[in-house]
Symmetry: C2
Subunit: 235 residues, 2 copies
Amino acid sequence: MKLEILTKNENREIQKKIISQIRDLINYKNLEPGDKLPSERTLSEKFEVSRGNIREAIQKLEFYGLLQSIPQSGTFVANIGVIAMNGMIEDILRLEDPEFKSLVETRILLELKTARLAALRRTDDDLKLIKEALDAYAHKVIKGEDAVQEDLLFHLAIAKASGNSTMNTFMLIITPGIITNFEKYHVCDSNQAFLGIQEHTDIYEAIKIQDPKLAKEKMKAHFKMLYQYCYSQKE
Amino acid sequence: MKLEILTKNENREIQKKIISQIRDLINYKNLEPGDKLPSERTLSEKFEVSRGNIREAIQKLEFYGLLQSIPQSGTFVANIGVIAMNGMIEDILRLEDPEFKSLVETRILLELKTARLAALRRTDDDLKLIKEALDAYAHKVIKGEDAVQEDLLFHLAIAKASGNSTMNTFMLIITPGIITNFEKYHVCDSNQAFLGIQEHTDIYEAIKIQDPKLAKEKMKAHFKMLYQYCYSQKE
DNA sequence: TTAAATAAATTGGTTAACCAGATTGGTTTT
DNA sequence: AAAACCAATCTGGTTAACCAATTTATTTAA
């Protein structure tokens, strides 16, 4: 189990190294937008890593719009200047390992907005799903069981009702990190969970009566404790 | 070129189908948290797709924390209830193809926050980088050239200065989509670009004097036109 | 009959071979 | 001399074989 994690970290380190090597190569060779990168096999040989690692790194840079692979042709530098290229790669390298604080800060930002949008745009079906999630959460809390998953589902239901697919995606992306950290730090004891039922209900009611301002307020109140917890952590 | 896009869409469709088949299988077989999924080879045969497709789908679900692959052992259902599993998979399936409106709405939300945070947290180095990006943007606009990339870099510099790695990541993620759509719709003519110089400068100055409220206001003003443009588009 | 030992089969992960299409350089033809 | 053609080569993408570790089935000893 531990080995598994180690090798994944190793893989990430290898990928970071490859990406920075690609950046160096672009700079050293003065590759401009549209220029072709060396082939995957060449890079694999030059960097002394497997071709699979090279492909992963290229796909990551392609995801961020910096490279473009064309089958049977090659991998090309995207239409972006050298300065921008360096800046974005630097960003990408610096990324990963998001701190819990960063996740929570972003989650709060997103959820204040999704609550507001959900109050504005929710359909009857959305409301029904939110209610179901709320009931499932309350049920588990009352039984004294862990309800992190149900808590999360309630918030995701709101994200869905917001009608904004990008925010919905981002909520899904930060969800695993939130869950992991919550379970790691045991942030919620049972008292907080009981309080949470009321807070969730308040949010639900605000969305039900389609009051965006109230929904945002209630969501803010719900996050107050989380916010304080988060910012009382060591830097 | 067009074929390339088609095959990528095809691949996405295949992946969506596989994911929904996995969901159906979990429901039909009543797989609970900790239970083992059939092997990749078995699924590959059952769904009549290549093992690579299966692996991709599993990795995606693993990314969202729904499955966990353990080498030489199997792929297991994560510690998440059936309802949550179905909900999240439904979300994941519904995702992709973010509408431009959704991207812009999210970008505005993020950038109002990053501008504010940048004014609060920016270092002198951050400020220097923002200034450089601003100058590069102005330079290109004055020369009458396309400055979408430089525009973007200015905003990314602010995101970096915000000190929030998650928001920084999200900005990087929506960037390709923003660029593509901007170039497709030619949203910025030269007049708008010239106006943009002033607006960018205003934002920079606010961050320089570390006035978070002003920074947010100036960013809001900068996005006013984009916002209107975005919401005047056809639904 | 049971438990320990061992061999066979199964697992996700990795690597190397293969594929179709694009590119390239040289040759031929006009 | 230039354009057209063609075969050899190179490209990213895909597939099938392989690997080490684990799990299961079988055998053997007590």
